[in-house]
Symmetry: C2
Subunit: 433 residues, 2 copies
C-alpha cells in the first residue's frame, strides 16, 4: 500500500479548523480522488493553550513553524494565517525546507507574490492558491487551466463577501451602513477591524491576482484605483433601486488595444443581471474570453467550509502532481513577468450622480447647464419634494447617458464648486449588462 | 528548444474547424500556457474533397484514421466526430496505437464510456472530455478536480442549448414550437434532425456523465427518466409566466440516504432564479457540495469556439501531463465502478397542471375533488373565460402545494379518465429555488 501523504497545517483559525475537519471527516472520499491517503500530521499555531473546537489528529500541535518545515515526513503545508508577517517568513521557511505550499492568503500573494513564487521555483516547489480568491469558486483553475486557450478580454467580479453582505442587508432591510456593519461583526461575517474589506483593499488584492493569471502581467495592487463602500448611504441605494439598479462593489479588469484598465469601486448594476442577483456573502465572477465568450461563476466567497473546500482541492492537486505541473508550465508570477501598464481608466458608460443642492429656483437649470458644458447629456432625473431639508439641501439624482468618466469627473468638480451646492456629490459608474 | 507537440484532428465539422483555427490563431498564447508549441499535424475527414473555410496547416488532410493513429510523430488526437460509429472504432484505433485522446462526443462516452476508459487505462493513455458536457463551461474539471474535497449532494442543469434556444424564443417572441424549431434550424442552432436535442436524449447523456463524475457510479443513460420539450406549446409557457415562472428543460441528479434520483424533464423555474435567467444557447449548472455549498456556472453550452475552447484546454492538459494524472488517480469510468441504483423519482415539490375540461357547471368542483382525494391541495387556479372553445374545452391551470409526484401522477390519471376531460393533461414539476 502507498504511504499516506502527511500534511502540516499552519494556523488553526476559521479556515485552518475547516481544513482539518474536512481532511478528517471526508478522508475516505478524498483518498479516492487523490489515489492516496492524506493525513494531518501536525498543526502549528500561535497559542497552543487556546481551546479548539476541531481537534488535531494525534494532538500534535505546537507553536514553532520548524516543527512542520523541518519534519521530513511532511511534504505539503497549508499556510492558513492572514496578514503579511509572520506569514511571509513562514512561507519562506516552508519553501526553503522543501515543502509544497497551499495558501488562502491573498494579501501575502498580492504583496510578495513575485518574490515567493520565484523562491518556490528555485527550490522546485509549488504554491497553490485557489482559496485566496473568491473562496469556493474555482476561479484560479478556471482562468489558469480551463480557459487557457482563450485570450481573456475582461474580468468583472464581486470579490469581497463582507461588503456584499453589508450592501445586500442595507437594500433588503432598509438599514443604515453603521447598523449593518455592527450586525455583520456580531454574526462573524465581518472582522473586528473590517477596514480592508469595506475600503476595497481585499477586493483589489484579489483582482491583482486574477489579472496576473488572466493577462500575464504583474500589477502592484496599490496602483489599482480603488474606492470602498464606506461613503455609501441608504438613500443612494434607494435611488438606485428606483432606477432599476442595485449597488455592488465591483472589481473590473479589461484589456483593449494592449492597454489594461483596472478598478475597484461601487457601481450600479441592473436588477436581473447576474452581479445584481449576487447577494449576501456570495461572490461572483464574469469572464469574457475570445473563444469561450462570457462565462459566469457564482458561489460562496468566504466562510469556513467553502474556503476549506478550495484549500483541500489544492492539497489534492499538490499530492497528485497537477499543482507542480501548472506551476512549472505556466510561468505564473515569475520575476520576469512584464510589469503592467495600467491605462487611465476613462470608461465610456452611464453615470449615476447624487448632488445636494439648495432648494431655490434655477438650481436644476444651473446643474444641467454645467453638465451640458462638459458634453454630458441626461437620461433621467429624480427629485422628491418631500426630501427637501433646509440644512442638507435637496438631493438631486441624475442618470446620464453614456459618457467618458473623465468628463463626468470634471463636471462634478465644477458643480461641487458652485454656490448652489450643499455637501459633496457622489458619482458612480453604471454597468448595464 | 523543446520539440513541438503534434496533434491530429479527426473530423473537421463545426467543432473540428474551430479547434484548428484556435490552435493556429492563438498558437503563441497557447504555447505560453503549455510550455511547448502545439501544432496541428494532420486532419482526417470523411470527405477530403469538401471545401473548407479553415485550412489545415501544411494541407495534410486525408480520410484514413490510420494516417493519424499510425503516425509516430503524433501524440494527441482530437476526436471530433459525432455519433457512435465510426467514432467508437476510431477511438479504439487511436488508443490501441498509443494516442492520448480528447473528445467532445458525449453520446459515445454515455454509451461506451466504461469500455473505452478501460481500454485507455490498459494502454496507459488518457481520454479528456471537458467539451462533451456544457461546451465552454469547465464543469468536468470543476466536479472532478476543483470540488474533489466535496461529497456532491445535487446537480441541476440546463445542458441542451438547442432546446433552451427554442424555449427562450417561444417565450420572448410569443412564437409556436414548430416555427421556432424551423428558425433554429435555419440559424444553425438546431441540427437537420433535432430529435436527440428536443426529446432530452442529449441532456440525459450529459447528465449521465456528470453523475458519474460527481457520484462515482455509472448510470446507463437510457435508464434515466426523460421527457423532452416536444409536448410543450406556447399556452403552457404563457400560463407559467402568469404565475411568475419560465419553463426550462432541466436535468437533475441528487443523492440522499445513499439513493440517487435522476431525471430530465421540462420544469417550471421561478423568474429571477439563475436557471430561469439562462437564455438562448446558454447552458447552466448548479451544484451543491457538502463543504462548498451551492455553486453556479453559466456559459455558452455549444457553438464552434466555446466548444473549441474546451477541446484545446483539454489538449493543453494532455500535453502538460495533467490529464494523465487526473485520469489515473481518480479511477473515473473504471469497469468496476458500482452500477447505480436509481431511486424511484418521487420528488416532493409543487406541480403545475394544465387540464382541458368541458365548459359546463360543476367541472372545477369535480377536478379539485379528484385532486383532494389524492391528498393534493391547490395553491392557485387560472381559468380565462375567453379561452373557452366548444371543441377543445377550457384550459384549467392549477398550481399545487408541495406534494409527492407519485400522488400527482395518480390524480392526473384519474382526472384523464373522467368524463369532463377534453384532451390529455400536462403535469410539470416546479423548482422554486
Amino acid at each position: 500500500m502507498t504511504e499516506p501523504v502527511r500534511v502540516g497545517v499552519v494556523g488553526m483559525g476559521t479556515v485552518g479548523s475547516g481544513v482539518v475537519r474536512l481532511l478528517v471527516e471526508s478522508a475516505d472520499h478524498i483518498e479516492r480522488h487523490a489515489g492516496r491517503r492524506i493525513v494531518v500530521e501536525r498543526a502549528v499555531v500561535k497559542d497552543v493553550a487556546k481551546a479548539r473546537s476541531v481537534p488535531v489528529p494525534g494532538g500534535k500541535i505546537s507553536s514553532d513553524i520548524r516543527d512542520i518545515s523541518r519534519d521530513p515526513s511532511i511534504s505539503v503545508a497549508a499556510l492558513l494565517v492572514g496578514g503579511l508577517e509572520p506569514a511571509r517568513s513562514m512561507m519562506i521557511e516552508l519553501l526553503e525546507n522543501g515543502k509544497d505550499v497551499v495558501t488562502a492568503n491573498k494579501a501575502l500573494l498580492a504583496e510578495h507574490g513575485p518574490e515567493l513564487f520565484e523562491l518556490a521555483r528555485k527550490h522546485g516547489r509549488s504554491i497553490a492558491f485557489e482559496a485566496a480568491v473568491a473562496g469556493g469558486i474555482p476561479i484560479v483553475a478556471a482562468i489558469g487551466e480551463c480557459l487557457a486557450a482563450n485570450r481573456i478580454e475582461s474580468i468583472r467580479g464581486i470579490l469581497n463577501g463582507t461588503s456584499n453582505f453589508i450592501l445586500t442587508r442595507m437594500e433588503e432591510d432598509g438599514a443604515n451602513y453603521a447598523d449593518v456593519l455592527k450586525l455583520a461583526q456580531q454574526k462573524g461575517f465581518a472582522e473586528a477591524d473590517p477596514s480592508m474589506d469595506v475600503d476595497g483593499t481585499d477586493a483589489t488584492q484579489k483582482l491583482a491576482i486574477l489579472a496576473h493569471l488572466a493577462f500575464g502581467v504583474w500589477v502592484p495592487w496599490a496602483e489599482i484605483p480603488r474606492t470602498g463602500i464606506e461613503g455609501l448611504d441608504l438613500d443612494l441605494l434607494n435611488y438606485a433601486g428606483e432606477l432599476g439598479y442595485r449597488i455592488r462593489l465591483v472589481a473590473v479588469a479589461s484589456r483593449s488595444d494592449g492597454k489594461l484598465a483596472m478598478r475597484v469601486a461601487p457601481a450600479l448594476v441592473k436588477i436581473g443581471t447576474p452581479l445584481a442577483e449576487t447577494r449576501g456573502a456570495y461572490n461572483a465572477v464574469s469572464i469574457v474570453g475570445d473563444a469561450v465568450g462570457r462565462m459566469f461563476f457564482h458561489g460562496l466567497g468566504a466562510g469556513q467550509m467553502p474556503t476549506a473546500s478550495a484549500v483541500v482541492a489544492d492539497i489534492i492537486d499538490t499530492v497528485v502532481g497537477r499543482a507542480a505541473i501548472t506551476f512549472r508550465t505556466t510561468g505564473l508570477l515569475a520575476a520576469d513577468s512584464p510589469a503592467a501598464k495600467l491605462a487611465d481608466v476613462d470608461s465610456h458608460e452611464r453615470h449615476f450622480l447624487r448632488i445636494n443642492v439648495s432648494d431655490r429656483p434655477g438650481v436644476l437649470a444651473k446643474i444641467t447647464g454645467l453638465l451640458g458644458d462638459h458634453g454630458i447629456s441626461i437620461a433621467s432625473v429624480i427629485q422628491h419634494a418631500e426630501t427637501a431639508s433646509a440644512d442638507a439641501g435637496v438631493p438631486l439624482v441624475i442618470m446620464t447617458h453614456a459618457c467618458a468618466s473623465s468628463a463626468v469627473q470634471k463636471a462634478v468638480a465644477a458643480i461641487d464648486k458652485s454656490d448652489v451646492i450643499r455637501g459633496k456629490s457622489v458619482c458612480l459608474g453604471v454597468l448595464d449588462e
